[in-house]
Amino acid sequence: MALYEHLLIARQDISAQQVDALATHLKTIVEGEGGKVEKQEYWGLRGLAYRIKKNRKGHYVLLNINAPSKAIVELERQNKINEDVLRYITVKVDAFEVSSNKARRDDAAKPEGETTTEEAAL
């Protein structure tokens, strides 16, 4: 068993519930292969840095997976077939990151929110 970080972008037109359903579906795949999803993180609908298949935004989902490589192969195969998934990346890691980085990521995602809070502070 190895630790993997799996990040995927889903199409902008699908709802948050559908994204959730997709994530649960992927979770069952991993569990079916004898792995475990340690953490599931939904980043929300974020703007993409460039257009992918005419999408300007996308739902980002991060899965921290502890599973044998077979599960990852199956996971990626399913993602390739699924048209709702624009992109995915799987990175093997030594240890899962601490959640402290999450705040920084969220700031980058919502520049508008950041400025308003700064103004409020002033």
């Binding site: 990040l7 972008i9 993409l48 840095a49 460039y50 992918i52 996308g58 991060l62 992109r87 990346i89 990175v91 990151e97 980085n101 920084r104 990521r105 700031d107 980058a108």
Partner: protein, 85 residues
């Protein structure tokens, strides 16, 4: 010729004094290079979206390699642009 000798002696005040820079990813409390941390990576790409050379950012050779991979992953996942105009 004598000037050259004195210059090599070394203690002439140099017109531009360059502060010794240290790698921002080395030492205690240094941030971890992570492709998901766009705010951090943004500091190491130029206005045009290019990776800034380590001779400017003072990132060590080893960390620069890791940084380059992280930036490329972030680009692939549309967290960072390939080009900015």
């Amino acid at each position: 010729m004598s000037h050259a000798g004195s210059r090599e002696g070394g203690d002439k005040r140099r017109p531009f004094f360059r502060r010794k820079k240290t790698c921002p990813f080395s030492g205690a409390g240094a941030p971890k290079i992570d492709y998901k941390d766009t705010k951090l990576l943004q500091r190491f790409i130029s206005e045009r979206g290019k990776i800034v050379p380590s001779r400017i950012t003072a990132v060590s050779t080893r960390k620069q390699r890791l940084l380059a991979v992280a930036i490329k992953r972030a680009r692939f996942m549309a967290l960072l642009p390939y080009v900015m105009r």
